[in-house]
């Protein structure tokens, strides 16, 4: 279980996270919702150590990761699909995946398994990743993260700018991974992107979690949406 307690993070002078606490269990999808600038991306970056929190603790399955340098955190099995995918665009599909394999010294089987979710990538295996279509890039970004055989997978707006069929494909993979026991932290702006897959939803604003609730409760009471997203339904 990934457990974050009381993160305070800053960008220079301005505070981006305020007492941010969440936990993600194996086989669970936690969705982080909130509008632009609410601190969702910062939360993921703080977990990865890229924006080191000034205060707070992070642990995975009871192992304390708090003071680790950023490159050591993924070695414990936290996979990350950053916003905008951030592929190594000059590298080939294969090389991008190899970077993922290097993280935890996972072998060729890991790559095979990752590719089994996205068979389309095989055809592009030796192509420069920058030349892929948007959907293929999203698939590669996820496959790359899967190459580390994560116990926790963090996805930052994976469906941004994708056509509906792609969105569905990615959603399917998320569901499969959940079934396999991977804990998933999914960041989205749009509620519709997460309703079908989420187990729990946390609303973020001003760098803090405003409310956290089970998905059933969200479905039952849509006024939550009105309150936190500001538009009626």
């Amino acid at each position: 279980m990934l457990k974050i307690e009381d993160f305070d993070s800053y960008y220079g002078q301005s505070q981006a996270l305020r007492g941010f606490s969440i936990s993600v269990s194996p086989g669970e999808v936690l969705c982080l919702l909130g509008r632009n600038g609410a601190g969702k991306t910062t939360a993921l970056k703080s977990i990865m150590g890229i924006v080191p929190p000034k205060r707070g603790r992070i642990s995975l399955n009871g192992v304390d990761l708090t003071a680790l340098p950023p490159n050591r955190i993924p070695m414990h099995g936290i996979g990350y699909v950053p916003q905008g995918r951030r592929l190594f665009s000059e590298l080939t599909v294969r090389e991008n995946l190899e970077i993922g394999l290097m993280t935890r010294q996972t072998g060729a089987e890991a790559m095979e398994r990752a590719l089994s979710y996205f068979p389309a990538l095989r055809e592009r295996f030796h192509q420069r990743s920058g030349t892929l279509s948007g959907g293929e890039q999203s698939m590669l970004a996820m496959a790359r993260a899967l190459c580390i055989e994560p116990t926790i997978l963090m996805l930052d707006e994976p469906t941004e700018g994708l056509m509906p069929s792609m969105i569905a494909a990615i959603r399917d993979v998320v569901v499969k991974l959940r079934e396999e026991g991977v804990g998933i932290l999914l960041v989205e702006q749009r509620i519709d992107a997460v309703l079908p897959v989420a187990d729990r939803i946390a609303f973020m604003d001003h760098g803090e979690i405003k409310v956290e609730m089970e998905i059933d409760a969200v479905r039952a009471d849509t006024s939550i949406l009105k309150k936190y997203l500001g538009v009626g339904h």
């Binding site: 002078q13 301005s14 505070q15 509008r35 632009n36 600038g37 941004e160 700018g161 702006q189 749009r190 509620i191 519709d192 992107a193 001003h206 949406l225 997203l229 500001g230 538009v231 009626g232 339904h233």
Partner: protein, 243 residues
């Protein structure tokens, strides 16, 4: 409220970054005295669109007219001199200067435009600070102000220019609820002397301020209307909430 000749209008403006069509042919008109909000989902092209208006980004195609003049090819600073002021999405101040000094620089810009010997820069500086309620913080270093106050300082700098059009890019981002309420009052005050165009995510702010709302998606204008019209527009709900 609105006159018939638009203060600002665009005709088929486009902006492409490589293959990405950030703004893809927008016809837009803004009338003197109104408060207009631009909303739209992330990546809809809102910030790019106002960057085209303010001149921070060059248009790929199309024309922009301001106060009867074609400003399409004018550099940003000249548009400011014509009366288009722009406040930034991310706080953008002079952190090592005092609040008063921040505003004073904007006042100098106005003075350079006025070329009027009687223009009192100190008074103008004080007035802008008072308008946003920062008069008592004028000697504080801007970088040391609270975040909310920095946002207000940002607005004060825009005000000090005494623009015809004030563009506010997500002005309430990061403000607390009471701060937002003060801000609403401030914008209403500003609107008495200037036209206001704001990009905003906070629907509460949009609904309570805007005379009209323009909705962008994927670089195009999806809908335009009063807050009520927009609220009830199914297309907008679909674009925004994907329901």
């Amino acid at each position: 409220m609105a006159s018939l000749i638009p203060l600002l209008s665009t005709k088929n403006v486009k902006r492409h970054f490589g293959g990405l069509k950030a703004v893809d042919g927008i016809d837009f008109a803004l009338y003197e005295g109104e408060i207009r909000a631009i909303i739209g989902p992330n990546g809809a092209g809102k910030t790019t669109f106002v960057s085209l208006l303010s001149g921070r980004t060059e248009v790929s195609e199309g024309t922009i007219t301001f106060a009867g003049e074609d400003v399409t090819r004018l550099p940003a600073y000249k548009r400011v001199q014509r009366g288009i002021a722009y406040t930034f999405q991310i706080t953008n101040i002079y952190p090592t200067k005092t609040a008063a000094e921040n505003v004073r620089i904007a006042v100098e810009s106005r003075a350079a435009r006025l070329r009027d010997a009687r223009f009192d820069r100190d008074t103008a500086t004080r007035a802008a600070l008072e308008a946003v309620g920062l008069a008592d913080r004028k000697e504080a270093l801007a970088g040391e102000l609270a975040y909310g106050h920095q946002r207000l300082l940002e607005v004060a700098m825009g005000l000090a220019l005494q623009p015809k059009l004030l563009i506010l890019d997500e002005p309430t981002q990061g403000l607390s609820d009471p701060e937002i309420e003060n801000f609403l009052a401030l914008v209403r005050q500003i609107a008495k002397s200037a036209t206001v165009l704001l990009i905003e995510h906070n629907m509460h702010v949009v609904m309570s301020l805007a005379d009209r709302i323009s909705v962008l998606t994927r670089g195009t204008l999806l809908a335009e209307g009063t807050p009520e019209e927009i609220r009830d527009n199914p297309d907008v709900q679909a674009a925004y909430l994907g329901a």
